[in-house]
Symmetry: C2
Subunit: 339 residues, 2 copies
Amino acid sequence: MGISLKDVALRAGVSVKTVSNVVNEYRHVTPQTRQRVQRVIDELGYRPNLTARHLRKGRTGMIALALPELGNPYFAELADAVIEYAGALDYIVLLDHTNGRRDQEVLFAQGFRARVIDGLILSPIELENEDLLARESDAPLVLLGERQYDAPYDHIAIDNVAAARTAAAHLIELGRRRIAFLGARHGQARQTAHLRLQGWREVMAEAGRPTGEEYVAATDGYTREDGAQAMARLLDSGVRPDAVFCYNDLIAIGAMRTLTTRGLRVPEDVAVVGFDDIEDGRYCATTLTTVAPHKRAIARAATDALLERLALTGGQEIEPRRVQPGFALIPRESTTGRS
Amino acid sequence: MGISLKDVALRAGVSVKTVSNVVNEYRHVTPQTRQRVQRVIDELGYRPNLTARHLRKGRTGMIALALPELGNPYFAELADAVIEYAGALDYIVLLDHTNGRRDQEVLFAQGFRARVIDGLILSPIELENEDLLARESDAPLVLLGERQYDAPYDHIAIDNVAAARTAAAHLIELGRRRIAFLGARHGQARQTAHLRLQGWREVMAEAGRPTGEEYVAATDGYTREDGAQAMARLLDSGVRPDAVFCYNDLIAIGAMRTLTTRGLRVPEDVAVVGFDDIEDGRYCATTLTTVAPHKRAIARAATDALLERLALTGGQEIEPRRVQPGFALIPRESTTGRS
DNA sequence: CCGGTGTTGTATAACGATGTAAAACACATC
DNA sequence: GATGTGTTTTACATCGTTATACAACACCGG
């Protein structure tokens, strides 16, 4: 089939191991030998057989990335970042989605895909703490996203409260007074939406702005449609906000549509801030101000955490990491009027 | 690390190959031996090491599926179907996306990922015929989707003209007279949109309905936003259709929103038909009538075609296949008024 | 009891890479 | 020239599996 080390060795007149040494940039190879071997490698177009390498090394070189849904651009973009970063480190990423369902999340955590992947990055939605504690698989697991757990696993998530505070503060600075929050979910105190809601509440209270329930609109999901409906309900309830901070960009985009439909101008009448910095937001009719979690930093942190655990030999243990990648407020037309 | 054949063999008092024979359900093993070995397998929890198996077999057991974008639910759902079907056949699917860009499509066709995957299923958008003819990689390639090529590769796509005819005919049957088409793209006679447009045109002409350019709205992309804008342009141009057939469900959903916004009722004033049968369409306020390509059949056909080529030994050749999986019109509220 | 035929099990060699240990070589020091 | 020290290269075993070839055994008909 393909060209193997043996073929190269034969042609270059050296041993198989020497070729391997050249390929792996082993130190003690004379420049002459290295050059000669390298020439043959290029000539024959040798590419290492990953399967064989992985067999020998006892690893597959693959990691799984299990996200709630790929239909949400935030996750699609995040997946992209992980695939790119891990790819540069010669890891192959298996992309999976859980639909945000607990049973599927448990399945992945328990090691569906065991023996195929070396480790797993999981972004849970419904997974419970007890599920993690009951985990049996010994493949490294890194948790992603805002849900909080009390279990010994690496966890990568931005500081949602701080990020929400930044967004709210931005609106306050612009002189807005009645700032609504779109996208809270009922119950579920540990969930992300709660953290963002908390950040909003803190800043509102500090600035002496209303934080009543009438300014909070819950949504069932996180889609544009959910945002459009929530915005409509809010307006129908008689509240007249001059700004809305949305749980994510999709909701914000939906909200903007409703506002436009109702004859309200963005940002003159109502300023809008989203969260995620998905590409859509940059191409809206009115470009969307948003809080941008640093996706590449998240991807890097998650991958690094996983690979570091994979590099541990034998019985070594390291403390679970909590990493908080950065974020940035990106002001665009939906609050400033110009991009 | 894990339990190997050797461990099982030792414990069961048989040779490694015998255990392998049991695992692979080789015929000539006595029930006694089989039972004894099986018991040890269960006891130790032996799972075969895929890496080793693949090394020995000269295959990786992985196929790549390269789709334009995962943000479009149609592709996400299709990916799901392929992953599930191929998974049942013990193949692992590597999911990639090309953003519908020619350079990336060429990259995949040329064998980015070579030596990692056994074959590739590619759904091209911009790829040109010459790119295919210039292809050097010898890994099997199966083409997916409606773009037509004159190159020796398997091609899986539903009959788009027929499918579009079905949709148009449905609207005609309901007594609609001025039926617009949303989602044509400029130029590009070989593209999918052209086929669906053609089906629409044929049926309109046969029924003596108008097919003028004023009833055709082009879009830049295939998103909800594109649909909303195209619908708005159409209405602003003074045309008053009593039905629209949209290139896909996303465009249809966008169009429905514009209609609602403008005070037009679906389906009373304007009936709407989409294409793809994405899940969103089933949960719209007004559920969406759509043409449903049989995604599982497509996934099956593509995977089967690829695996069949993989099964070919040595110099064997088979003719490129053209498979046309089925489709079905699914009437819902957006045309019938009830679901 | 022989040879033929078919079944069941085993020993051994691959697949393509890397780790280990040691051989081969270079060079300086005494 | 013997010894030591460090560099460069090699032979061989190994990862866990399957393919090949053959040995061992059973059964049958003559």
